[in-house]
């Protein structure tokens, strides 16, 4: 069974959010003096949440 159109739109919206988190925002926020370890990296956790939501809509949407 394929992905429904509504779910596809939501997944694309989350993909756009992921692009903002990973590509656009580093240009807006001043870089830290030293990059934090992955477990203290807010960008990493935000990406994880976005991917989790993409999975939710891919499976149950």
């Amino acid at each position: 069974m394929g992905i429904e159109p509504g779910a596809l739109v939501v997944i694309l919206l989350y993909a756009a959010a992921l692009a903002v988190i990973l590509v656009v925002s580093p240009k807006l926020v001043a870089p830290a003096a030293a990059p934090p370890p992955w477990w203290r990296n807010v960008r990493f956790w935000a990406s994880l949440v976005a991917v989790a939501q993409m999975v939710v809509y891919a499976v149950w949407g």
Binding site: L13, I21, S25, V29, R43, V49, Q53, V56, Y57, G61
Partner: protein, 494 residues
Amino acid sequence: MKLSALDIGLIIAYLLTVTGLGLWASRGIKTSRDFFLAGKSIPWWAAGMSLVVSDIGAKDMIGLAGDGYRYGIVMMNFDFVGCILPVLLAAFLFMPFFWGSNVTTIPEYLGRRYNPSVRTFFAVVWSLFMLATVATILVSAAAMFEGLLGWSFWVSVGVTSILVGLFTASGGLRAVVVTEVFSCVVLIAGATLICVLGIREVGGVETLMARVSELSWTREHFELLPSSSHPAYPWPAVVLGLGIVLGPAYWIGNQAIVQRTLGASSEADARASYVFCAAIKLVFPILLVLPGLIALALFAEELGAPGEGWDANQVLPLMVKRLVPPGALGILMGAFIAGVMANLESYINSASTLLVTDLYRPFVRPRATDEECLALGRWLVVGLLLGGALFSYQVKTRFASVFEAFQTFLSFFQGALFALLLFGMLTRRATAEGGVAGMLVGVATAAVLTATGQLYLWTAFWSFVAASLTLVAVSLVTTRKGDEELRGLVCWIR
């Protein structure tokens, strides 16, 4: 229903803990900045939990259980699409910029970006919305207390108002955040408890799904995004109205939300608080909507099929009455009271911040001292609770569910607000005249669509489209502000 001694003990223990925490947190409040922004000292985890319970509280426990019964898992989209998505965008795109512009309220930002008329308009509209929200929360509290304890509507509203007024008037934002952190934990525990007890009573998740599917009117109850012919939540309206307009407007332009991050101790903490909130929201909607489906599996005959005059607010109280044993009831009531207080405190504190910052200081007494503003902020808490209590009966009698009431109030002006915020933050070209025109056309469109009975999700979307088109058209033929004037107000000019 009578509460056992253990239940009463647990509720009193909860109230005493919250009182103690509130009093402890309210030490050292000397300025209005301490009262309204907690002296910019809130850590990320506290701001994140505070964001969760500013959004989710009594109105959601009662409202989402009722609407989960009526419509099924589509209601989870209010967090999955309407919260997590905009919160992630807000954390990385908008919040750093709000932080840098050093404003206290959203109307204050709009006033600087466009002109003072826009600031005043949205300050008045937000204050009215917050008053309506206070009324909605009081109706949720009354539904629970009426259903469980047999208190009358007005007694329930009166007791809740007095209790909340005492905390919020004394403590300001820091006391609100401290009690909200505690409330967040209690709320999750209570919501989990009712889901576990309910699933056990039904006999497991598979039995639950089978029983719900047997009913003739629950065909799309397990569709996260229902068909485009769904009567209330067709997927295009969910994606466009909720995902593109209502969600982002609420999480980027809502004073009660943004105020928490403006009170954070640093920009990095503010960003982390949003992401922490999004992570908690991955599971919270399940805990809030599931009780509605459990009620459907267990009490469908008693509660009946939703129709004219059906009251969605009765679902959760009935479940609690039937499923929760003595002792556990005390924990659940503690969780519910936590939800009521956290929600009310949050909106009342933010409304008083708006009224003092955007209306009293600019129009009534520009030279008001800080002590005067602090005192006024406290008195406004009392006034807002009184106003909300008086308005609560209207909400109770005019809407089938408190959640629907809240979203309807929001859809009235969120489209216009979001258009102004989006174009104001992202483009230099948006002009003051364009902002005023977009604001008026957006709200007028929402008024017409609401009056003609459109679904509130479509109302929000089309008012956003109307406001955006007007703003762009008028901005193209009027003169924009210079780059120096826009420094710190547009994302690309920092």
